[in-house]
Each structure stands twice: as C-alpha cells, then as structure tokens.
Symmetry: C2
Subunit: 111 residues, 2 copies
C-alpha cells in the first residue's frame, strides 16, 4: 500500500475510526510505534483500509476503516495495541480524540 494512497473501501455501510491527535515534542519512539501499528492493524479481521496524515504543525488525522463494531473492538483489545495506547496517553500525545462513525455513503474522483 503506497503511503499516500486513498483507501479503496467497499460499498457502504462500514465503519470509520477517526483518530485526531496532537503530538508532544520529540520522537521518543513514536515513529517506530506508529509504523508498527499501521502494519498490525492491516492484519486484523475486518480491516478495510487506513489513511494517515500528520502535518508539520503536529496535528495528525488517521482514519481506519472496518467492517463492523466487532472488528473495531477486537483491534482495540489487541495486546500490542493496548501497549501503544498506554504510551500514547502517557508520552506521545498532548491530546487526542477518537470518533467511531458509521459510513453511510461515499463518492469521489478515482485515481
């Protein structure tokens, strides 16, 4: 998957997890963890795709797409992911918000 690709998701409905965050200063292992989490998420049941961008000002948006709520719950409870969530709260993120949303329709200009 190219890093800057738009996710090729199926026909709705499906779920989106919108994760918006602001980083603290310094890397402190963040880059390695973030890459690993994208890799690990892609291996989970019900994973449909992900889009992730961090701006130079520190704001980041990662949207992951999932088949259903069960797949989201399963990924949230993944042991390695739980460790990353702890590190995120304590070290990597100044603040963040997770929004779970049901995609009802989509349209666009395909590549």
């Amino acid at each position: 998957m190219p890093e800057n690709a738009i996710a090729r998701t199926p026909t709705p409905p499906y779920y989106a997890v919108i994760f918006t965050s602001r980083r603290t200063d310094g890397d402190q292992g963040y880059g390695e963890m973030a890459e690993r989490m994208l890799e690990l998420a892609a291996q989970q049941p019900g994973f449909l795709g992900v889009e992730s961008v961090r701006g130079v000002d520190g704001l980041g948006i990662t949207v992951s797409y999932w088949s259903d709520e069960k797949a989201i719950a399963h990924w949230k409870a993944n042991t390695e992911h739980l460790g990353a969530q702890e590190g995120g709260k304590k070290t990597w993120y100044a603040d963040y918000c997770v929004r779970v949303a049901k995609v009802e329709r989509d349209y666009g200009k395909p590549s």
Copy 2:
C-alpha cells in the same frame, strides 16, 4: 480557532464528512481557496467543527463535523463551494474520496 486544534464537538450523534484527497502539482490558487472554504464552512448552519491536515507527500484529510444530513446538503449546495468543487475536480486534486458518516461515540484525552 487555532489551525492545529482538535474540534470540540458535542456529544454524539452527529455527522462527519471525511474528505481525503491527493493534490496535483503546483498551487494554482489552491491554498487561497482551501483557506476560504474553511472560513465559509464555519459560517454555515449546523457546522460543528473541522480538522484538516495535509502531509508533505500530498495526501490530505479534512474532517468536517455537522449536526445532521440537512446541514451537509446545504453546505454542498453553497454556490461558492460548488465553484471550489469544480476546481477541485478539474485542477487541484489528482483523486479524492468523500465519505459521509454518522458519529456514534467518541472518547479521548482532552487538552
């Protein structure tokens, strides 16, 4: 509103419009249009907030939040916005995807 802030949205449910795009090369008036659209969106009825990031690799994610589908339809039909949508298709975006999703729940680490 600070540029890199996380939107302070109300208790769900509400709607999210997830707009993912890849830019063509060169500015061609894009920066000015993008800034104007954020400003104009914020003036629309039912607007709840927006988060927008573009990475150095050209991928961008803008998530705008709305009270309901009617507010989304109203903003989509805004005359100035329609002009920007045309410019996006023809000039500014290599490809893009718009996903309309109903936010069912949220949680996070507040600033």
